[in-house]
């Protein structure tokens, strides 16, 4: 496992000069992944912010092979690459180990690409799928996705005078993928680079499908000053809204347990997308959201305890 110092002396494979917003966590995530994966890696990216900011022809931020196909099919596309790689390897036409990494935003993963991802995991292609979850369709202007938190304002779940933001809790995609019984999956966030990069490294060392769901703070869509991305990412873990954990061969393991679980409000109050929840008459929404966080965290604790 390389240290941060070592990693920072490596040449970037996801280069600067891309067009992500200042403070975009997703670009930090991709940079970290590319560094850990190294140059013997093929990336497939789904339509969304990261594809758009990194590949505007004739420029590219990618110093490793990169393919964009469409919005909902990066997992299926990667399964084709992995298949030809396996075929060539079997016939001795290729000898080196090449990583295949597919990624998509929450829209391209939780929603429109869910089937494609499920299929690729079930067929047990040897690939890492990485979801950078910024909790909405950012590229098209901040529309709600099934990953958008309860109560959040987006342009299709606006905080109106009658309906105060998104009315559903987010889908638990990580557990949905766990139900595929793949050898390794994890939740991570970029503020904890050591945990995150270790997970990427582990996933790539494992034969078979692996999945990492990475929370990806987005100043534009979450509405906060650009310098707060890492702080907000950290708070998501400290409030247990976004537990850092992994599931290896079916066994849940929590990688970060806050000494004292912080109230969800601390995370919420830094973000403009939740501003409407701070008024007195929407207090119950924060309470419900807190209850849901508590319920899920308790469940995770129990699973980890029971080693299931």
């Amino acid at each position: 496992m390389p240290s941060l110092k070592q990693l920072s002396s490596e040449k970037d494979l996801f280069a600067s000069g891309h067009r992500a917003c200042a403070g975009c966590a997703a670009s930090i995530i991709l940079r970290q992944v590319a560094l850990v994966a190294g140059k013997n890696t093929v990336f497939v990216g789904a339509t969304g912010c990261m594809e758009v900011v990194s590949t505007i022809f004739p420029y590219t931020a990618w110093k490793v092979p990169f393919l964009h196909n469409a919005f909902e099919n990066s997992a299926a596309t990667a399964s084709g690459i992995e298949s030809i790689y396996r075929s060539l390897k079997k016939r001795g036409k290729i000898t080196k180990k090449i990583n295949v990494i597919a990624f998509g935003g929450d829209g391209g993963t939780y929603d429109i690409g869910f089937q494609s991802l499920s299929g690729a995991m079930e067929r047990r292609h040897n690939m890492l799928y990485l979801c950078y979850n910024n909790e909405a369709y950012m590229n098209t202007g901040i529309q709600r996705s099934s990953a958008t938190p309860y109560g959040a304002h987006t342009t299709t779940s606006p905080a109106g005078t009658v309906i105060p933001g998104k009315q559903q809790f987010p889908k638990d995609l990580t557990e949905a993928i766990a139900a595929h019984d793949i050898p390794y999956l994890a939740q991570a966030a970029p503020h904890n680079w050591a945990d995150f990069t270790k997970k990427v490294e582990k996933a790539l060392s494992i034969e078979g499908p692996t999945f990492i769901n990475v929370l990806s703070a987005c100043p534009l869509g979450w509405v906060y000053p650009t310098h707060l991305s890492i702080k907000i990412s950290k708070l998501a873990a400290e409030t247990c809204f976004w537990p850092l954990y992994e599931v290896e061969n079916g066994i849940h393991k929590i990688n970060f347990r806050p000494k004292e679980k912080k109230p969800l409000l601390e995370w919420i109050k830094l973000q403009g997308r939740f501003r409407h929840l701070l008024s007195e008459h929407n207090k119950h929404i924060i309470e419900e959201a807190q209850k849901e966080v508590d319920r899920k965290w308790d469940r995770l604790l129990k699973m980890a305890e029971a080693k299931i």
């Binding site: 084709g80 690459i81 030809i84 396996r86 075929s87």
Partner: protein, 392 residues
């Protein structure tokens, strides 16, 4: 050269061609009436008769997406589908062509829902005609086999994907005489795999499918258009070479008894076979009739078609799909457009037929010839758009 003569259905014939091509990757999803192609091919994989990695995708969208990934990573790639499956692939069809990936689809022409139907018409491939794929229609099992082999070679020559199709059930499930070429002959005919890119070439990383905006997209599309023009040359070269090696030459179209013909029918696929029988009958009675069978619909042989047809007095275009434009089918429009510049400008009428598998009989085709005869005699088209065999 030792050809093997067997009895095979259209599906079996295409699967056999796929086996001989021995693609690196086949990613597919079952759908009636093309299911058999995938089934038979899975058998080849299971028995180790091909080197192919078979990806049993969870949908046609994913199947073609996997094909795109595999082809971009330097593989020779094929798939098979029909109707709803081709419609589900629609988005990715354009991407495969735009990225210039020489993938081949063995397609079975089945009506597009709704209402849902499983039988033959051409609405599925006609709905994909603008996607940048070559389209080759087959009259029978033999052509399905020959066309599949040629399609792979043509696709890799011009770096465009190709669809080879047969009519649902009429060809896909009918047992016919098939001459199979020796494996090594097929492989040497197609030659070494020519790949446009190789994502697995780690030493030379490329970014493919990136965002292409106002400043470059048009140039890339212009190149794709040019490739489709070049495909015309490739179709002819490969069809000729196939003839020299194996005995039967192929071109854009087949002119059946068109010499001295006054009137002609234009058809695609199995109906061309039925029409030939009618042509023989009518010729025996002294009528100057011919059949013009379109084999390659994309690229469209505009000039060549004009040249071949302009001396005909009256033409009936049979369309097994309606463009829902309120003014006839897709083949009709393109044929009519081809003849616009002709000074002679034949009379042209359109016959929509066979939707959802409605049978077309020799007597129906005979009626068309009689109507064309009347048009030629009276110098007048009464009905521009006609429907064969429908209750109205």
């Amino acid at each position: 050269m030792k050809k093997i003569v067997v009895a095979k259905t259209g599906n079996e014939a295409m699967a056999e061609a796929m086996r001989q091509i021995n693609p690196d990757v086949v990613a597919a999803y079952p759908i009636t009436p093309a299911t058999e192609v995938v089934q038979i091919f899975s058998g080849f994989v299971a028995d180790g008769r091909v080197d192919t990695e078979f990806v049993p995708a969870e949908s046609e969208h994913s199947a073609l997406s996997a094909c795109v990934g595999a082809a971009a990573a330097g593989g020779r790639v094929m798939t098979s589908t029909a109707s709803q499956g081709l419609a589900l692939m629609h988005e990715v069809l354009f991407i495969a062509a735009g990225l210039r990936l020489p993938i081949v689809i063995c397609e079975v022409n089945r009506a597009l829902a709704g209402p849902i139907n499983i039988h033959c018409d051409h609405s599925d491939t006609m709905a994909s005609r603008d996607s940048g794929w070559l389209q080759i229609y087959s009259e029978n099992s033999q052509e399905a086999y020959d066309n599949t082999i040629q399609a792979m070679k043509i696709a890799e020559k011009v770096f465009l994907p190709a669809i080879v199709s047969v009519d649902a059930f009429i060809i896909s499930h009918s047992m016919e005489r098939l001459e199979i070429l020796p494996d090594d002959e097929v492989r040497s005919f197609i030659g070494e795999h020519r790949k446009p890119y190789d994502l697995l070439d780690i030493a030379h990383p490329i970014t493919l499918g990136g965002l292409d905006l106002q400043d470059y997209f048009f140039e890339h599309k212009r190149q794709e258009i040019e490739a489709m023009k070049e495909a015309k040359t490739a179709v002819i070269e490969v069809g000729k070479e196939f003839g020299e090696k194996f005995g039967t030459s192929y071109g854009f179209f087949e002119e059946y008894r068109m010499d001295g013909a006054d009137i002609a029918i234009i058809a695609l696929g199995s109906t061309a076979g039925t029409s030939k029988v009618v042509v023989d009958t009518l010729r025996a009675k002294g009528m100057k009739v011919g059949l013009f069978k379109i084999r390659v619909f994309r690229p469209f042989a505009f000039e060549e078609i004009k040249k071949s047809l302009e001396h005909i007095k009256a033409i009936g275009v049979l369309d097994r799909a309606d463009g829902m434009s309120s003014i006839g089918g897709p083949v009709f429009h393109e044929i009519r457009s081809s003849l616009y510049e002709s000074e002679k400008r034949p009379f042209i009428t359109n016959y929509i037929y066979g939707l959802g598998g409605r049978d077309i009989f020799p007597k129906d085709i005979e009626t068309v010839y009689r109507e064309l005869n009347e048009i030629a005699e009276k110098d007048e088209v009464k009905n521009l758009i006609n429907y064969i065999g429908v209750r109205e």
